[in-house]
Amino acid sequence: MKMTGAKILIESLKKEGVEVIFGYPGGVVLPIFDSLYDAPIKFILVRHEQGAAHAADGYARATGKVGVCIATSGPGATNLVTGLATAYMDSVPMVAFTGQVKTFLIGNDAFQEADITGITRPITKHNFLVKDVKELARTIKEAFHIAKTGRPGPVLIDLPVDVQQAEAEFLYPEKVEIRGYNPTYAGHPGQIKRAAKAISESKRPIIYAGGGVITSEASEELKELAVKNDIPVTMTLLGLGAFPATHRLALGMLGMHGTAYANHAIMESELIIAVGSRFDDRVTGKLDEFAPHAKIIHIDIDPASVSKNVEVDIPIVGDAKDILAKLNKAVKKPDTKAWLGRIEEWKKKFPLKYKDDDAVRPQYVVEQIWEATKGEAIIATEVGQNQMWAAQFYKFTKPRTIISSGGMGTMGFGFPAAIGAQLGNPKAAVFDIAGDGSIQMNIQELATAVANKLPVKIAILNNCYLGMVRQWQELFYKKRYSYTCLAGACPDFVKLAESYGAVGIRVTKKDEVRPAIDKALATDNVVILDFQVEKEENVFPMVPAGEAINRMIGDLA
């Protein structure tokens, strides 16, 4: 049957099982929006295209499905850029559609024209400009395939308006064959054997788990490897939830704001089992001093991540789930008793802590959210201190429960991402742990959340500062707080919430914290919790930039 490009798009999305699209209309996507008008796919109208990209991202992270967003050409498309870069850095499967000016106008500086495939080339896994409607269905099939396989990532499809209007026979391909794209899934048996031997013979092993464990749905296999063999587990920000934080073998997050015991453990380990993690600079600190005694096993689906930052002894390229399952069969339990004893001492000596006085401490707020939600909530975060406190004090026990911009560190990500996560998990309690700076970067999405009855709870750790930058200024720039103080023009967040039809609760005293959280949880609406926290609280421990990660500052390490 012949149909228009716009209709082919909808039919293709149905074939891909897409349940929801986040987006914003505009001139050259009118044909698509006309098809959406009576399409059986949920459409979430955001208030800024950046919100659409982050919401699609949050939806994808929380559900494991491909997030889909759509924007018009020019400014609509460029507004997606930060969202695509965020998803790319954190390997999130997304497909973004952008409108484009008519094919014969491309390159003419037409109204609302931007070379979006050119702009997004380095921040997408792949992108397409479809010039012929006959190519559309196959392109969409390929885009979804590329987005969700191998190391996932965002894919953009640019659609000129005349292609949306032109007609073609709709034939959705059953299979995809891209001769230049064949991700490796099965780990090399010889390498797995070598790794198993190294683990079996190790004295001081440590598992360093990243977001790849979650992407590959390998948490159970990881848990088996750790628990059966008594191997401690530290996680990256994106790896949190891959292994329960409440388990005796869990060391929490490592790196710049990691726990002191995780950092000491990785530095003194003699075998690092890295799974789906990429030795980011926030994790390793000073590279030439990183884990000097350790042999490294690196399991990753992306060959380019192996031996990029640190030299790896046993690389295993492939799917973490498959490789861990095979490893579990081959590993003989090493004797780690003395090693675990050593780690226990560090845990006792350097616990994560904060001053538990009468003030409203941000860490206390996060702990209370954890208690109130019994650790079952999905926690999105913004970026900065709020993000690090969430990572340190919310004990994540399940995969896909922390939604945070790790690689890109995108402020303004958390709230729209929480909207996407809530949409994918209608029954879950979804929080955005925010700062007063970050939340103002995509505050307009309050309208989206309220209009679509997505009862996200926004917990603002409001210190009237761009807290993380202020912390660096305090520690490394002689307290010269250059443009990091937001006081004086801070909005009344309660009134702001109310103006959008949401609920606002202000908290100024410690004993109000828990009742406010409970009230928010009992409210079937979007709630802003404005926690007016201690203004100059710092995130500790902290490894100064460029230092070895066992050289932490703060009296807590």
Binding site: K125, Y181, T184, S307, K308
Partner: protein, 171 residues
């Protein structure tokens, strides 16, 4: 160390931008890059000459392989490939030195591409040694313009570059 890499890519628009963008974004230096269609018109072949230590080269190859439009990447081993480049250069010629120029051209096996009223354009196809020798030989006459294609390279082995998916990194 200098490496010569052959990259088979989809013959589509935008592919060159993907490759060159990758080099600039990741801080890799390209010494030369030449592109052209292959025996299969749907495939282009790029010959890229790069400088870098082993680790950088490993990253370059992996990143090239990561591109969806990249079909195959081959890093040629020393002594197992031939490489050629075309150079055209223009020197001023007068009645006085014309004979000397023509003798020089002949001595090195180059050819006259164009003889103008006041200039002679010379062409030569050869390996880097030969190209360098030509440049040295012609420099004294005054180089008005030099244009080079960049190197193209091919393996000397009897089999062609097969496309059977990308090579695995695991040995």
């Amino acid at each position: 160390m200098r490496h010569t890499i052959s990259v088979l890519v989809e013959n589509k628009f935008g592919v060159l931008a993907r490759i060159s963008g990758l080099f600039s974004a990741r801080g890799f230096n390209i010494t030369s890059l030449a592109v052209g269609e292959t025996e299969d018109p749907s495939i282009s072949r790029m010959t890229i000459v790069v400088e870098g230590d082993d680790r950088t080269l490993e990253q370059i190859k992996k990143q090239l392989n990561k591109l969806i439009d990249t079909i195959k990447v081959v890093d040629f081993k020393e002594g197992e490939f031939i490489d050629r480049e075309l150079i055209i250069l223009k020197v001023p010629a007068t009645a006085k030195n014309k004979k000397e120029i023509l003798e020089a051209i002949e001595s090195i096996g180059a050819r006259i591409a164009n003889a103008g009223a006041k200039t002679i354009s010379v062409e030569l196809v050869g390996d880097q040694t030969k190209i360098k020798a030509l440049l040295e030989l012609m420099r004294p006459f005054g180089l008005l313009e030099v244009v080079r294609t960049g190197r193209v390279a091919m393996s000397t082995q009897d089999k062609g570059l097969k496309i059977e998916g990308k090579p695995e990194v695991n040995e």
